[in-house]
Amino acid sequence: MPAMGTVVSIEVDAPEAALTRAFEWFRQVEAVCSRFDAASELRQLPVGRPVPASPILFEAVRFALKVAQETDGAFDPTVGSRMAARGYNQHYVTRATIDAPGSDDASFRDVVLDANLKTILLRRPLTLDLGAVAKGLAVDAAAHELHPFRDFCIDAGGDLYFGGSNPVGKPWRVGIRHPRRREQVVDHIDVSDCAVCTSGDYERGAHILDPRDAGAEPRVASATVIAPNAMLADALATAAFVLGPEQGIALLDGMGVQGLLITPELEQFRTRNFGRA
């Protein structure tokens, strides 16, 4: 199923209705969180006035801001306008060019949430980009939907979740792709009931920028994170990509998740626990 700018596939032995429900999460999350869709709830957020948000949007923004705080802005969901200025401004289906208001100095601190009223306030014109969170959230909701079936795999173009065991009853074996040689893997890891997300520069070009310095050259070619859920893994992979190999690995080690960063020179940096079950 095409969704969120990629193709989503699910491998599971389950009734078709359950699969439909799982796929439905991708449609729901995309309809709410897409910055490319003028009709999305995200694009309807006004400036200077708090508005009630749906659970999907509120939770996605809340988590994105949480990661932004934890990473001191290395991950920042307010990069939408800067991403659009770099050319990431076309809807993947309609090819319509989007309007992305905002200034270069907007930051996550310009977004204020009220946890009691479930409102979102944009203090200044900006464009939220929830790409690194929303796709993971959809994967996790779909995984929750498929949890009763235990053994399944969700592949959402770089965001993967593996439930239970593979068809032969063993942990899923995941290859981590070589960032420059498409058909080659640099390593593999056996996983179960967790997410594996990779942020790289080889599929969509330099689609990740440093929110603190838009002109900084990326020092990572691919960042792979294994975490309990895809939303966390995707956000941390993006943050580690921005931070660079040393600080990125320090972040992942500090968070206790597994990670592998590969530089453009193909040097590998691994977390201390990488490869451990």
């Binding site: 389950a14 659970p55 999907i56 990661v67 929750h144 079936f149 966390l232």
Partner: protein
Amino acid sequence: MFKRGRKGRISNELVASSCAAILAVYAAGTWRTRDEARRFGVEGEVRRSARPAQIPAASVPAAVAAAVSQPAFPPPVAVGPRQAPQKLVKAVSKPTPASLPTAAVLPQTPKPAALPTAEPASDDTDAAESALSAPPSRKRWLDGYYTGWGTSPHGDMQVYVRIEDGRITDAGVADCQTRYPCSVINDILLQPIDLQGPDVDRVSRATESGDAYYYGLVRALENATTGTYKSVRP
């Protein structure tokens, strides 16, 4: 520069935040999948209206009886009151209302339509007699242990059937993932043995769980028809 968790431990705060967000979205999303739930509800209604088990045989027009014999999974005794063992019917639903399902409606239902059927009758009278006759002697199912998933708005359940010498000798729930315990349908679990088919009774106050069991049975018996997905009982 950023907060660090304890060595070897995932930052509880960030993991907790992500898990809480996912659960909040998922819990709030039940209404988002309500269209699916409604579809299941419609299927349940369809199944209810299609069930001939409570219809007195004498009152069934021949044309309706013919239609009844043609759905994909007719019970061996397609018309006439089903004589389920007393121990199994404590919680079953009330009889179907007197308004009979029409022949125009029946061919559309039920949805999961793949099980082998009785041979089509040549005319209405034959059809009624055929429907009232004993189970077909030929083997409909291949021996083995088969499973199938049934779905309801309350969750899913994996249903198993055991086929020996072409007949259902055991049936039940292999994996219950509904929000209510599957014990709510205990009274109908063994009915497939007597019925030699999936058309179990509905359970009052547990209709959707009962329907999930029914749909699971249908799928398990589909697998038994082809011999695919044969499992080893855990």
